[in-house]
């Protein structure tokens, strides 16, 4: 589905990603872990098309296309979805209005008819139930005044509405209470098919009990320095990152 090769990216002349290699196939779940500041969110932003970052080297192939050639909205319409680590508040723009516009523009780009009002509402009802997102929140402005956990649920709700091919969940678990963690994980698992893929970025093994990864990667100083199966996450939980840092710096 996605094949990242030797990806380098920098911001304001500072190099953040230093040669990322990652291959994710349809039907797979990959977890990316790594110390604070190692470049996990940067990788997500770069894949979503944030132009603040300059790509200095490397390539990204997404379902046969050269992903880096496309704008943010084109990538979204191709099926890339990023659940932000810090979803921003957009006062004055209602959740429902913006989601309907998002769906319709995606449809239009594929030559499809806009979604019927009834169908849209039915979809909202179904998908919000999936992540148990209070319907009153949907009528409000995007994330404005939402609690931390509500913002994260709203991200997964949007993911459910947009049905992406590749979902990147950047620390979706942080800020969720134990029950919410189960609900959101259940949502993510329900949306999983053999045709889509998920990258979960997290600091905690706990999430991976619910969203079980096929592979776990450790990102450090802008590089994937270790990859393994879900047992790697358990090892990290127990030992932290020092042993990996030592391996690298040795």
């Amino acid at each position: 589905m996605i094949s990242i090769k030797n990806l380098h990216a920098s911001i304001e002349g500072k190099s953040i990603l230093n040669g990322i290699n990652l291959e994710v196939k349809a039907g797979e779940v990959h977890a990316i872990m790594g110390p604070n500041g190692s470049g996990k969110s940067t990788l997500s932003s770069v894949l979503a098309g944030n132009e603040d970052y300059e790509i200095t080297d490397g390539s990204v192939d997404f379902m046969g296309e050269d992903l880096l050639e496309f704008s943010t909205e084109e990538r979204a319409r191709m099926g890339i979805f990023l659940a932000f680590q810090y979803p921003i508040e957009i006062p004055g723009v209602s959740n429902m209005n913006f989601l309907r516009t998002a769906i319709n523009e995606t449809r239009e780009s594929k030559g499809e008819e806009p979604i019927a009002a009834k169908e849209f509402l039915a979809m909202v009802k179904e998908k919000s139930a999936l992540v148990e997102l209070d319907n009153s929140l949907l009528k409000r402005y995007v994330n404005e005044g939402f609690s931390g956990g509500e913002k994260k649920r709203n991200e997964i709700f949007q993911m459910a509405m947009l049905e992406p091919k590749l979902a990147i969940l950047d620390e979706t678990d942080s800020g969720l209470d134990i029950d919410a963690l189960k609900i959101v994980s259940h949502g993510v698992n329900t949306l999983k098919t053999k045709d889509n893929a998920t990258i979960v970025i997290t600091h905690y093994q706990r999430l991976l009990d619910y969203i079980v990864p096929d592979f776990v990667h450790v990102l450090y100083k802008g590089k994937i320095v270790k990859s393994g199966t879900k047992e790697l996450a358990l090892e990290l939980e127990e030992k932290g990152y020092d042993w990996i840092k030592e391996e690298i710096n040795a």
């Binding site: 979503a48 098309g49 944030n50 704008s71 943010t72 909205e73 990538r75 979204a76 319409r77 979805f81 990023l82 932000f84 979803p87 921003i88 957009i90 006062p91 004055g92 723009v93 209005n97 913006f98 989601l99 516009t101 998002a102 769906i103 523009e105 995606t106 780009s109 402005y141 995007v142 949007q158 947009l162």
Partner: protein
């Protein structure tokens, strides 16, 4: 020396517009005379004049205009009608009231009359009572050569809003409508003013509206400016409020080559509420200028003023809001703010909020901000599949929406939101 030169400019301007020998010139001679006399002393303002610092009137003064009371017109009134809203519709064509297209009720709650159907006494008790025609050439021009007008007299709680539709058409044509709005004691009235123009080039629309807000009355005045190209607009609104009254003026400028709005409110009674809301969004080379005066002469009143705008391309926005709190006006709450978003590097916004307070027990605040659209928000929306244009439009809508939400007539609010592409 230079004064005779410029005097000739006004004289020349006037000689052209006075060429039309309109019957109305003989009406209300004493009132017109005050305007004519004022014109003898006045000059077209230059940008050295503080009040016109950012708006050049040369584009208006350099043309030779004629009046043109179009008789045979085909106006697409449906394009400005408000869906689902029943109104008393009044159609004014190039400054002349079109009685056939208008609905002029004479009821217990409201009376609408053309000036020619008013007695001189009736007119004289209101006309220019609010207005200082001496200092502003455009209101003096209107006072001397207004073509026609209507008097809207609310006597009670009005059953439906009045919808004024001003239609303009022609080349180097001038339109000088004059309207008087009166709310008697305890009356309630909403007025909506829409504009329509077709085949205009170097058209000059110069209107003056006077508002008399009586004791315990409530008047809302909604203006929607959505002009096609080829028209320059100077619109002057002057209101006086008596005690316990509420007056709200809403100004939504969607489109227009060159517009100058003057909205001045004088609060002459206690316990009044005054609201001034406005939104503008010039693009291209448009020039939109809003000047307001909020003058508190009496104690225990409140005023809220909020103007918001986005300025794109090479367009210019101007906001100048003066709030006066006079010596005897204690216990005043006066709020004013002007927020702007600049959408391009070539866009200009001149914002000048001014506060002059002569009383000591007052609560006032004023402020002005200019910023850019939130890039992070645009990225967020794009990452969900919205084009940059839609994302920008949504954010602009969200920004300007705050003052559109103030509209108190649901059908009108809906219609204006739709004009802005919001829902």
């Amino acid at each position: 020396m230079s004064s005779t030169l410029t005097q000739n400019k006004v004289e020349e301007f006037v000689s052209h517009i006075a060429e039309n020998k309109l019957a109305v010139w003989n009406e209300l001679p004493s009132i017109r005379k005050s305007g004519l006399e004022a014109l003898e002393e006045l000059d077209f303002p230059t940008t050295k004049n503080e009040y016109w610092k950012y708006s050049r009137t040369n584009r208006i003064s350099k043309h030779a205009y004629k009046f043109n009371p179009l008789t045979d017109v085909n106006i697409d009134l449906d394009s400005v009608r408000i869906k689902g809203l029943d109104t008393y519709e009044v159609v004014i064509v190039n400054g002349f009231l079109n009685k056939e297209l208008s609905n002029l009720p004479s009821k217990d709650c409201i009376e609408l009359k053309s000036f020619e159907d008013c007695s001189t006494e009736e007119l004289r008790s209101y006309f220019s009572q609010n207005l200082d025609t001496i200092s502003n050439i455009f209101s003096a021009l209107n006072t001397a050569y207004f073509t026609d007008g209507i008097l809207i007299h609310a006597k009670g709680k009005c059953d439906k809003p009045v919808h004024l539709i001003h239609y303009s058409e022609g080349t180097e044509t001038i339109s000088q409508p004059r309207n008087i709005f009166i709310a008697d004691k305890h009356a309630e009235l909403s007025i909506i003013k829409s504009s329509l123009n077709k085949n205009t080039s170097n058209f000059f629309y110069n209107s003056v509206n006077e508002f008399f807000i009586g004791e315990n009355s409530h008047m809302n005045y909604y203006v929607i400016q959505n002009y096609e190209e080829g028209i320059n607009v100077v619109s002057t609104n002057v209101a006086t409020q008596e005690k316990n009254s509420t007056f709200s003026a809403f100004n939504y400028t969607l489109k227009g080559d060159w517009i100058r709005n003057n909205t001045n409110v004088f609060v002459k009674g206690e316990n009044c509420e005054s609201n001034l809301y406005g939104a503008y969004q010039p693009t291209g080379k448009e020039h939109i200028d809003n000047h307001t005066i909020m003058d508190h002469l009496m104690p225990n009143c409140e005023s809220n003023e909020h103007y918001k705008g986005t300025v794109g391309d090479k367009a210019t926005g101007v906001f100048n809001g003066k709030v006066f709190v006079r010596k005897d006006a204690q216990k005043i709450n006066a709020f004013q703010s002007n927020n702007n978003i600049l959408l391009s590097d070539d866009a200009t916004m001149n914002s000048k909020p001014e506060l002059e307070i002569y009383a000591d027990d007052v609560k006032c605040s004023h402020g002005s901000t200019s910023g850019q659209l939130d890039e992070e928000a645009i990225f967020y929306l794009q990452s969900r599949g919205l084009s940059k244009e839609s994302a920008t439009a949504l954010l602009i809508g969200a920004f300007l929406g705050e003052v559109v939400e103030k509209i108190e007539i649901p059908e009108l609010k809906e219609a204006v939101l739709e004009m802005y592409g919001m829902e």
